[in-house]
């Protein structure tokens, strides 16, 4: 089972646990295992945040009136709480399910943006012959191509500024690299994160000035 296949069934695994194939994948994939643990924690915390009593019927009335005003519902005036199963005991469970579904959905979307990088890290770190440098090199290559393009553009219009930009970009890249490494080693260090932001500010400044220059 691949990570993509596993993440498709992730909400079910959060609620009911996994089957043999899913469990086997979890044992071999630290990224998916960590993701599942985080989502289960979120779901558990969400249950504790929910109110233990029903809202006043006036609350549902207000919601219904607002939805009708905005044209989102056109049904005949029906008390909102009648749409909900008569058993008031079911409301907390439905609310729980809705909250968990929203949180899981949001977490999956959030994680998906980083899952490729995390999977790459997992593969890299699990391979005895690979190193973190390879991953950084791969991601830096794309940035390096853009930098070369910027330097070429500036050199074409302002040859005297080429060395200035080229040298400064190298220095800033070293700054970013050091800052990234520090954040990885100390992910909860606020100062480390601020340093990374400042390093990127430097790069952003150089890019902005260079792009303005190249468009003159």
């Amino acid at each position: 089972m691949t990570c993509a296949e596993f993440q498709k069934v992730l909400p079910d695994v959060v609620d009911r646990g996994g089957d043999a194939a899913q469990d086997a994948h979890l044992r071999s994939c630290p990224a998916c295992s960590e993701l599942l643990a985080d989502l289960r924690l979120i779901a558990q915390q969400a249950r504790q945040l929910l109110p233990t009593h029903d809202p006043h019927p006036r609350v549902w009335e207000n919601i219904r009136a607002t939805l009708e005003e905005e044209g989102l519902i056109r049904s005949a005036p029906v008390r909102m709480h009648h749409l909900i199963p008569f058993s008031h005991a079911a409301v907390p469970w439905l609310a729980t399910a809705a909250a968990i579904a929203l949180l899981v959905f949001g977490a999956v979307l959030f994680r998906r943006d980083f899952s490729e990088d995390r999977l790459a890290v997992a593969r890299v770190s699990s391979s005895p012959a690979s190193s973190r440098t390879q991953e950084l090199t791969a991601s830096n290559q794309q940035g390096g191509n853009e930098e070369e393009q910027l330097i070429r553009q500036i050199a074409a219009e302002h040859p005297t500024l080429r060395d200035t930009y080229e040298n400064s970009l190298k220095q800033v890249d070293a700054y970013i690299s050091d800052a990234q490494r520090t954040v990885e080693q100390n992910p909860y260090d606020e100062e480390a994160r601020q340093s990374l932001i400042r390093a990127y500010d430097q790069k952003a400044m150089i890019y902005q000035m260079g792009l303005s220059r190249s468009m003159e």
Binding site: T164, D178, A179, S195, M209
Partner: protein, 282 residues
């Protein structure tokens, strides 16, 4: 040296052109403005100096060295732009244009340069000075918002009081003398940062870089709460601050320290990766 002068009136602006026997063309632009004027100067090669004017005018005097460049001025309402226009590819010598600019003290001023020196003094408005290798010198500002950006040009601020100051330079050294304000931020990659002053007013000061040294000299009467950290370099507390009772991190001998002097009014944060940080008494 003889010269010819031609005067023109253009929609309220006055432009006077004169040509010297040496081929230098001097232009004088005069634009009437009201409060809150915005002035933009773009000049790659050559010095730009900005000073306050006494009347409600923006006055720009330019001097070009060759006929490969010309200076264009434009006014739209309260917004004035004067820009060097290159007619051919030029270098720093034949593309050089000298600017002397006078603006109402509270004007919003933006200067873009490449290698020429930028200097500004006695302004109180929103001022942005940027240039790749330009050296930037600012003095005698009060209650201003100052933004300085260079790629490797050095920056020097002197007697900038009660101002918001934001300096970013990848490789230029930054020197601040008697600079105070609610916020004073300096961020360089490899430039050295040097501060001499009293940190008066209880503001927020942050000096950070990657590989340059940071040197801070303050009087013993300064009221400051300081944290200093150098990840791979070193820190030295030659001021001998009193240790804080409650710290957000554990100081490491030679790598970080935190402390305060007097009532700890101003906040001073110093951070470097490989540079040496030193705080000492003036």
């Amino acid at each position: 040296m003889w010269s010819t002068k031609i005067g023109m009136m253009l929609a309220g602006a006055v432009v006077v052109v004169s040509v010297t026997a040496l081929g230098q063309q001097k232009k004088e632009f005069r634009y009437p403005v009201t409060n809150g004027a915005m002035v933009s100067i773009v000049n790659d090669y050559g010095p730009v100096s900005v000073k306050p004017s006494s009347g409600g005018n923006v006055l720009v005097n330019t001097s070009t060295r060759s006929n490969r460049v010309e200076v264009d001025g434009n006014q739209n309402g309260n917004r004035v732009e004067v820009r060097t226009h290159y007619l051919q590819h030029v270098g720093p010598e034949d593309g050089r244009v000298d600017y002397e600019v006078q603006v109402p003290p509270d004007a919003s001023v933006t200067v873009h340069s490449a290698v020429g020196q930028i200097s500004a003094e006695r302004l109180v408005g929103d001022v942005t000075l940027e240039g790749e290798s330009s050296s930037v010198q600012v003095r005698d500002f009060t209650n201003a918002h100052l933004h300085v950006r260079t790629v490797d040009g050095p920056v020097s601020l002197t007697n900038v009081r009660n101002s918001h100051v934001d300096v970013t330079s990848a490789g230029g050294d930054v020197t601040l003398s008697s600079v105070t304000g609610p916020k004073v931020y300096v961020n360089t990659t490899k430039g050295k940062i040097k501060y001499m002053g009293d940190l008066a007013g209880g503001g927020d000061y942050a000096f950070t870089n990657h590989s340059g040294d940071i040197d801070v000299a303050i009087p013993s009467t300064a009221s400051v709460d300081v944290t200093a950290r150098s990840v791979f370099g070193s820190v030295e507390d030659a001021f001998q601050f009193r240790p804080n009772a409650h710290m957000t991190f554990v100081p490491s001998q030679g790598k970080s320290f935190a402390g305060y002097s007097n009532s700890g009014g101003a906040s001073l944060k110093l951070h470097s990766f490989t540079g040496k940080i030193k705080v000492h008494k003036q």
